[in-house]
Symmetry: C2
Subunit: 106 residues, 2 copies
């Protein structure tokens, strides 16, 4: 059943829930993470947005060629150094959604 | 505090949670919704992805110039006709995230 289409890449939504009082602390960490990740050769897209209704809810919209590229990202020095520093200010566990298929017009 | 940047558009993540047995029923409705929405003059981006770990979890990644444009979308004939037909197969309420600010490298 060709009801949906395998996309040529892996899309990821990675959501962090940060204590409101720690937002100013994590912003420079996030800025460094975005800069260094966008410089990775396998990174297609890596945007970090903020929920309009919750300033501690940070949403990464990511695109990678495949799961192996995402694994390379998660093993980088900057990821392994910065993510634990950010996660120390979580108010709830992160939420991760992986998407390899899209629904497209016939 | 210029810690984050107002993006030039409104990004939206709209998530539907559909009963597994209804996925085949909603796919043609989604395909029509994507086709007609992409044809709207104010639509910047409107992609529909499927959660790799939950085939009933459908995720719209949307970009609109502003909230007014999103309101126009929600008032179209195709939205008002198709969304209730899709929502009839929901197993849980939809989740909507609106994002007008991004975190960018310095």
């Amino acid at each position: 059943m060709a009801s949906f289409r395998k996309v040529a890449m892996l899309k990821v939504i990675a959501e962090d829930f940060i204590h409101p009082e720690a937002v100013a602390l994590v912003l420079p960490l996030y800025r460094e993470l975005v800069a260094l990740t966008r410089a990775e050769p396998l990174c297609i897209a890596y945007d970090l947005l903020i929920d309009d209704r919750d300033p501690g809810h940070f949403i990464f919209l990511e695109e990678w060629p495949d799961r192996a590229a995402l694994d390379v990202h998660c093993a980088t020095e900057h990821f392994r150094r910065l993510v634990p520093l950010i996660d120390a200010h979580q108010r709830a566990p992160g939420r991760f959604t992986f998407m390899s298929n899209s629904v497209d017009p016939a």
